[in-house]
Symmetry: C2
Subunit: 253 residues, 2 copies
Amino acid sequence: MEEQRMSISDLQESEREEPQEREQGQVSEAEAHGYDVSKYERPSVTVDVVMMSLRQKDLQVLLVKRRAWPHEGMWAIPGGFVNMDESLEDAAKRELWEETQVENVYLEQLYTFGDPGRDPRTRVITVVYFALLDSERLQVKAASDAVDVDWFPVYDLPPLAFDHKKILEYTLNRLRGKLDYTTIAFNLLPEQFTLRELQRVYEMILHKRIDKRNFRKKVLSTGILEDTGAKKMEGTHRPARLYRFNPAAEHEL
Amino acid sequence: MEEQRMSISDLQESEREEPQEREQGQVSEAEAHGYDVSKYERPSVTVDVVMMSLRQKDLQVLLVKRRAWPHEGMWAIPGGFVNMDESLEDAAKRELWEETQVENVYLEQLYTFGDPGRDPRTRVITVVYFALLDSERLQVKAASDAVDVDWFPVYDLPPLAFDHKKILEYTLNRLRGKLDYTTIAFNLLPEQFTLRELQRVYEMILHKRIDKRNFRKKVLSTGILEDTGAKKMEGTHRPARLYRFNPAAEHEL
DNA sequence: TTAATAGTGTCTGTGAGACACTATAGT
DNA sequence: ACTATAGTGTCTCACAGACACTATTAA
């Protein structure tokens, strides 16, 4: 929540209102930092996007380093203002594109945070989305990012701005809850994958070991996987079958 | 979503901004109705509350009749603007109080709708909550409401304004999903209730018959119910035990 | 042949769901 | 005694989870 990666000039640029009468409360700290709160009489609406992906055999989340007060220098979930002529989801897609240059990924609205005082500058109402990107498409872009954008393992995070730690925990719980009655996990994998890779995704999200035989038995029995016939050879051992997700079988896992 | 029960004068009253440059798109129809869109350059943020309760052995939802364009005369989910100094949840509680004079009920954030053009007047971003009220406390107030506020059975609704029908379906699905792993259903019952009454709640929400023996077996085995010792006598038949919810047993159903 | 991962089947316990009769109150 | 609802037990089937060995490849 809150807008991140926005210097004061960024905010001014996107501000189209005239200054108005002051709003009472939680103004002093903002003013002390030279922030003109009076311009934000009405709540600002922003969209934050929790982007998760598999990188280096790890479940990781994309964060941006804040360049301005408050929480300057801390890492935060990327987000920005919602334009007047775009839907909330479009704003989330735009944010996704700006950070990763990736499109057509799994995107879901999570929760809306809007307590007064959560952002010391002004009243900000933030709609949080979360996105799951498959590692393959993402790797094209890889390390071309600026230094203030980076991926972090979800179980090994730096200190986060605002209450973004709470939001990430909320996200993980949502993901876990959906894991066994939806096909949400497939969004983290490329088109073809081995059962072992799928199992790793489940293990990382649930953050616990799963029995190999039981997992295979269960997944294959649902019929949502299709054997591609191809095999994945890597290393000095027996190659693994490659499967693909079969959307025709719209069963729930 | 969208603000309801607000005449044009209501909107003007709650409007504190100066007129600004016009916003492009979806303006003409609003202007034709004498609605000054230019005042709403930035999105308005409202909170709508889906209030459900058990009335006359029926699962019902509270609706208000719109008194102004658009959708004048149609029924809608009650809602209103979020004040600058109140949280989203506080706004929902306020709305709840205004409509039912009830406090301390189950309240949960559902989803946020914000497509441009959903409200022909201006861009409105609406955070939807839903509330479950127990019938006993509610009955005190009963029929003292104005004619433009009423309760409707959720499976027998009048035509609804905006896309409120979709929202109610969404609400019901959320309720159903939570039914078997939370204790959410107890919020619709008074402090003491019979197993039959509890079963009726489940049947109404799931909209299907449940086997009596299996239901009792399952519910009692969780240990979340406490026998009050009292019995409910009504009619010419064997009286039923009265139970109460035991919050100490924080198991999930 | 070794190293490293892929791939496979059985047993047991638990829970869901189908199903029908007895108990107890008012009249 | 009759009527109307409360209250109770068994069986079957499906699924979850524990558990250990064989198969196949590259080096």
